[in-house]
């Protein structure tokens, strides 16, 4: 396996009128070529911010990247730090090397431009094809993502598609230039369940076909189980646990992850679909974090949790957790 992306110590703050929002605190993770990494966490935990920041898509101001690096290895030459790229440098990466699928395809597509043009403009930009060639390639792509009557649909506007079809278009936009990485930010939340499954399957197919690494942001632990190779669990702007999907389900190491797993409906499925929830609310991101952010809600919190911020430690192969407590043995860890 070869690394395609390596994010280290990412810190992002929002300087708003009401105060400073500590959106990301020291986020680090790696992404391998062709794998699927799921990012899960409550609303506001920083999932979107962490991904948008890599492509300079956050509004700055108020956002400011305070620290961190994000090495991308998908270029032919040297690896580059995405966060240090200039405008034209990042433009080549966006769409060309890293594609983005957004949650609500209706608002993510330009309402007054045909969907064909919205796909082909990216192809023209990155692959330098002529208009006519780009159009042919776009129609191929529309067929590939399963749009019936692709040639006629080329000239349609977003509102003329159903929700599922729009999300297929969105996928075509993101993969138009066969990028190395596709970031999917809750791409199925707005869709109904059967369509969700189709979108997940389509993404998986294309991922295999083009050997694309996918970062799949979601609230939905069901989707995670079905498609992710590895999972990153976020809590209040911090990565609390990273593990292989099976490991995470069978052997969660962070109290927050454990809480999530316990709250899951019976995976065997007796049809009961409750919402996973843990008592309490996440901390106010306006306060500078001085200790473990989960301490307020943590059943195992002890003195140290209120004094220090836990660092990421490896607890097994490909398994990293940020916690002072050893849940397996029911006592504080000694060597961290």
């Amino acid at each position: 396996m070869t690394k395609i992306l390596s994010v280290k110590n990412l810190v992002i703050k929002f300087y708003t009128f009401d105060g400073v929002v500590h959106a990301l605190n020291n986020v680090s993770f790696d992404l391998e070529e062709g794998e699927t990494l799921a990012i899960v966490g409550e609303s506001g935990s920083g999932k979107s911010v962490s991904m948008l920041s890599l492509l300079h898509l956050l509004p700055m101001p108020p956002a400011k990247i305070e620290n961190g690096e994000a090495y991308f290895y998908g270029n032919e030459e040297e690896p580059v730090d995405l966060l240090k790229l200039n405008r034209s440098g990042i433009s080549k990466i966006r769409g060309g090397k890293i594609g983005f699928i957004f949650q609500d395809a209706l608002s993510a597509l330009n309402p007054v431009m045909t969907i064909g043009r919205q796909i082909s403009e990216s192809i023209i930009e990155h692959l330098g094809l002529s208009h006519a060639k780009a159009k042919e390639k776009t129609i191929e792509l529309l067929k590939r993502v399963g749009i019936p009557g692709a040639r006629q649909r080329y000239d349609n506007f977003p509102h003329q598609f159903s929700g599922g079809m729009r999300q297929r278009v969105m996928i075509a936009v993101s993969m138009a230039c066969t990028p190395k990485i596709v970031i999917a930010d809750e791409p199925t939340t707005a869709l109904d369940v059967t369509v969700q499954a189709q979108i997940v399957d389509l993404t998986k197919e294309l991922q295999k076909e083009f050997n694309i690494a996918v970062v799949w942001i979601t609230h939905d632990l069901g989707v995670v189980a079905g498609m992710a190779d590895r999972v990153l669990v976020m809590y209040a702007g911090s990565p609390v646990e990273i593990a292989n999907a099976q490991d995470l389900y069978s052997n969660p190491q962070h109290p927050y992850t454990i809480g999530l797993m316990n709250a899951l409906p019976n995976v065997k499925g007796d049809g009961d679909s409750r919402l996973a929830s843990i008592d309490g609310i996440p901390p106010d991101l306006m306060d500078e974090p001085r200790h473990c952010q989960f301490a307020w809600r943590c059943p195992h919190a002890f003195d140290r949790c209120w004094e220090e911020i836990p660092q990421q430690v490896s607890v097994g192969e490909n398994h990293v957790v940020s916690c002072f407590f050893d849940v397996e043995n029911g006592r504080p860890k000694e060597n961290v």
Binding site: L57, R87, I93, A108, N110, M113, S122
Partner: protein, 315 residues
């Protein structure tokens, strides 16, 4: 789309009926329309005579039916002062006003839209300051005062432009504008310029935050392309209706400017007819201006529908 156009047509029609109603009953506001029209020294006999002549002795509803019947034929009665059909006078004066308003609109668009775009694209920059300043100036300087100041500086002191009157340059049967239109058009257009700057700027600021703009950037498009193909294209659609409304505003706002510059247009005619208590003419001008404004809005709405695919291809 057909249904959209049809419903707009019906709306416009109802509006015009409403306008006729308002224009007619406005004169009845004080109880006696004839008393408004005569000079204070008129004797009771003279008033009675006029009342009979103009048919104001009939029941109000009969008068109204008569008024509407004639109006449909384009007949708004005679101007007492000019002794000429009101509509004829209006049509004579129309070209001058259209020239003035069009040039004012052109000036407002050429300056206002790019400035708003630049300001909205770079908040806090020097362009933004200029845009905000222009918006504020347009909104706070009354055009009647501006016109006086312009005359003082550019006509009286510098002598660059004439201080009154309209001159045209005849070319192949067309009456082309000359520099006599510059001062009045600038004074008239400044407010609209400010409005266009404000609108464009805030539309750009708003659209910039839309998800699809982020998508456009996520595709690696350059700023220029994002602004022109995505942001401006979306802002242009509501701009169409704004332009319609603003043109209507310019037509009626010309009353001050035309009076000050003795510009031989509709606004001037309106001010003059009010001075002369020539109310048949005032009614006719009010209706005619409304007719133009309503048609402008209708045209703008239809153009809007054509430009917006959500309406054009909607059910």
């Amino acid at each position: 789309m057909q249904r959209y156009i049809l419903s707009r047509l019906i709306q416009s029609f109802i509006m015009l009926v409403g306008v006729l109603f308002i224009v007619f009953f406005m004169l009845q506001l004080t109880g006696d329309p004839v008393a408004l029209m005569v000079s204070r020294s008129a004797s009771p006999e003279q008033i009675e005579e006029l009342r009979e002549e103009l048919g104001f002795n009939r029941p109000v509803l009969v008068q109204f039916a008569d008024f509407v019947g004639n109006a449909v034929k384009g007949d708004f009665g005679m101007s007492l002062r000019h002794n000429q059909p009101a509509m004829e006078l209006i049509l004579e004066r129309m070209p001058a006003t259209v020239e003035l308003a069009s040039i004012a609109l052109l000036f407002a668009m050429v300056i206002g839209i790019p400035l708003g775009l630049l300001g909205g694209a770079n908040p806090g920059s020097i362009w933004d300051m200029l845009a905000r300043g222009a918006g504020l100036i347009g909104q706070t300087i009354p055009n009647f005062w501006l016109a006086l100041i312009l005359i003082m500086i550019f006509a009286v002191n510098l002598g660059w432009f004439p201080s009154f009157g309209r001159e045209t340059y005849q070319f192949m049967g067309l009456a082309l504008p000359t520099k006599s239109v510059i001062l009045p058009a600038f004074a008239l257009g400044l407010f609209t310029m400010g409005q266009l700057v404000r609108f464009t700027r805030s539309a750009v600021l708003e659209i910039k935050n839309e998800d699809f703009v982020r998508t456009a950037y996520s595709k690696g498009l350059a700023d220029r392309r994002v602004y022109i193909k995505h942001i401006l294209r979306n802002a242009a659609i509501p701009l169409i209706s704004i332009l319609g409304v603003q043109f209507g505003y310019l037509l009626s706002g010309s009353i001050y400017i035309e009076t000050i510059f003795s510009w031989p247009g509709l606004g001037n005619l309106l001010a003059e007819s009010i001075g002369n208590r020539d109310f048949a003419l005032v009614q006719a001008i009010a209706f005619f201006t409304s007719l133009v404004v309503v048609s402008l809005n209708l045209t703008a709405d239809i153009a809007y529908g054509m430009a917006d695919p959500r309406i054009r291809y909607g059910e």
